[in-house]
Structure formats: C-alpha cells, structure tokens
Amino acid sequence: MGRDISRSGKVKCKTVIRELTNYMEGRLSEPLQSAIEDHIKSCRDCSAQMETTRKMLHLVGDEQAWLNALERHVLKKPAATSEDAAHKKEL
C-alpha cells in the first residue's frame, strides 16, 4: 500500500479508480484514505468517477422503488397475476 502514495502524500488517478469502492466503503487505512479524499477534491476526473458511481447507486439502492417497479413490471402482468396470487396464498 505504501507505494500508492508519493513522498508528498499524493496518489495517482489510477490508484483512486482502483481503490474507489474500498474508499467509498471506508475500508482503507490511513494515510491512503485521506490521500484519496484530497485527490478527489482537486481532480475533476476522479470526482466525476465517484459522483457517477453514486448516481448509479442512488438509482438501484431504494428498496421501495424496487417494490413499486416489481409491482408495475412483474407482478401486475396479466399472465402472472393469478399464479402469483396463488403462490402468495400458499405462503
């Protein structure tokens, strides 16, 4: 991990992208976690990498939205309804 950080405490974009998930999950140990935080603050590309990942996660991460979408796209399908209802009753 030591060689990811330069003597002046900087990291390369390559390292940020490679560690992005670990960084977002707070899994990195210091000083790498802070070095990446600083890098992202000043690098447009890397901050866009993180923001776009966040936007994607926001889209897929809402369980209520999933349930509503399932209702709309899957469970309300005419062909599946009666069968699904029967299954539900069995449960």
Binding site: R44, K55, L57, H58, L59, G61, W66, L67, A80, L91
Partner: protein, 306 residues
C-alpha cells in the same frame, strides 16, 4: 466470520419495506419466537419471516430476473428456514441467515439453467474498459425511475451482464444494503473478495447504465396531465391553425368567450402557439401601434389576456 456485533436488519429494509406489512420482531425477541417455533408453534414462525418476504423477493428477482423463479426462491427459503431453525444461533443474524438460504437457492436455480456457473472465478475482467472519461455531464436519475420500462430493462440487462459472483455481491450490498462484513458472512467469503467483486460490479453497472444518465430521458408525462389531455380531446381542442389565425383578435380581446376559453386551453399545452403569442405581443408593443402601446395593466374595463 461471525458478526454478532453488526446489526443484520438493514436500515433501508426496516424503514421502507417492513413498515408496509407486519413489524419485524426486535432482534432480542427473535430468539424467543424462534424457541416457540422450534417447539412447534408454526404460527410464530410465519409471523417471524413474513416481514422479510419482500426483501427476499427483491433479492431473488434481481439475481434471477424471473418472477416464477423468484417465487420459488422465497418459498424454498421459508421452508428451509423452518426446517433448519435450530441452526440459527443469533437473532441479530436472522435476516442475513435468511439471505444466505435465499442466495443458495438462487444459485441452485442459476446452475440448473446453465452448464457451468462459477461463483468463485474472479478472473475475466478487464479494468481497461473503464478508463477515465468525461462523466461531468451526468444527471441525477431518481430511484423511482425504475418504474419506467426502459430504465427497468436497462438496469436488468446490466445486472444480468455481471458475473453471478459479482451480481450477488452487488444485490446484497447495493440493493439490500448489507454491509461488506455482512455480505462476507452471508456468502461465506472474505471481505476483500466481497470488495473486489463489488468494485467490478459497480464500475460495470455504472458504465453500462451510462446512457440513462447522459441522454435526456423522453419526457415523463404525469398521469394527471394525460387525464387532462384526453378531457381536452373530447372537448374538441381548437387547432394550432385556428389559434394562429385568431391570435391578434385574441390579443385585442375581440374573440367570443367560447373561442377564447378554447384558445386558452390550447395555450396551456401548446408551447409553440404560446411562443407565437408572446412574440406577437412583443412585436405589437415594438411597432408602437397606439392601440397596444398602453401597457395592459393600465387598461381598465377591457380584458387583456396574459
């Protein structure tokens, strides 16, 4: 591997899903209910698992993308949970424990469908695909966009393109919001492996879904407006041609009340005619026709449409 100190019931699920149906038991009560269920109180067991049905279904469906298979996973999970209840040692782990059973069931169905499904191989992935690009113009897509068919389809196509190993990690972490240690526990793999797969899954999902975030989605006409639209259709919407022909009479307040109402209705929905109307008004002021030079608010006793 055991994570007794990490709460297994996720915040998101508790708030958004469980409130809809039965309230889940607090973790400390779960073991008491489990004891009752073990003694043959099946009713207690159903009350225990019922709140988790929906999140099990979401998990199974997002892994398999098939309603019948997802139902099967939920049912099998319930039955196996009942059968193996004595293996549950920690009430805090209950949701994760159910999820382990569900994941195994989903894997079995996936294996049936394909000759060889690997949940171990982390090799075939080329990080070069995800080079730096300009992502600056990405817009927000709200999660209720999932209700739109094209978004739903795109998300599922993207998820199906993940390797099964990456997909299950992604669903557990980013859809169900288990923590990385919890996912490791559920899948019985180490946390680093979870993180590696999660990283691939996220970048791959993001890049595959890029078109949703970059291209303008077709306008999402709210239901209310759709209803208004059909009401207007029935009431014989006045045509653009007619509006344009009558526009100066309209500005001068010289059209009859019926036509005026219909033109106004039209202008609510037709941006083009509205634009023409506004431009015409401006031009009329500019050409200094003394009839319209007086600002409308100064005119008393004469109705000026705005």
């Amino acid at each position: 591997m055991a994570s007794a100190n990490t709460p297994t019931i996720c915040q998101g699920c508790e708030v958004t899903v469980l409130k809809q149906e039965a309230d889940p038991f607090p973790p400390e009560e779960i073991m008491t209910v489990v004891e009752r269920a073990k003694e043959g109180d099946v009713d207690a067991f159903w009350r225990l698992v019922e709140p988790f049905q929906q999140c099990l279904y979401v998990t199974a469906y997002s892994m398999l993308r098939n309603a019948g298979d997802a139902e099967e996973v939920v049912q099998e999970t319930m039955l196996k949970a009942l059968k193996h209840l004595d293996q549950l040692k920690d009430g805090h782990r209950f949701r994760g424990w159910l999820m382990t059973i569900a994941t195994n069931e989903a894997r079995m169905i996936m294996r049936k469908g394909m000759k060889e499904v690997s949940f171990e191989d982390d090799a075939e992935w080329d990080p070069k695909i995800f080079s730096l690009r300009d992502y600056a113009d990405w817009k927000d897509v709200p999660s209720d966009a999932l209700e739109r068919k094209e978004v739903w389809e795109a998300v599922h196509r993207a998820m199906q393109s993940l390797s099964p190993a990456c997909r299950e990690v992604f669903v557990l972490r980013d859809v169900q919001h288990f923590t990385v240690p919890e996912v490791a526990d559920i899948l019985a793999i180490n946390e680093d492996k979870v993180s590696v797969r999660l990283h691939r899954a996220r970048l791959q999902m993001r890049d595959l879904l890029a078109p949703l975030f970059r291209e303008p989605l077709s306008p999402w006409i709210p239901m209310k407006m759709m209803a208004d639209m059909s009401a207007i259709m029935i009431h014989r919407l006045v045509s653009c041609k007619k509006v344009l022909r009558e526009i100066s009479s309209y500005i001068d307040g010289e059209v009859n009340p019926d036509l005026r109402a219909r033109i106004e209705e039209h202008l609510k929905y037709c941006r083009r005619c509205k634009l023409v109307l506004n431009t015409t008004r401006k031009i009329l002021y500019l050409v200094a026709d003394d009839k319209v030079l007086i600002p409308p608010f100064a005119i008393k006793g004469r109705q000026i449409p705005h």
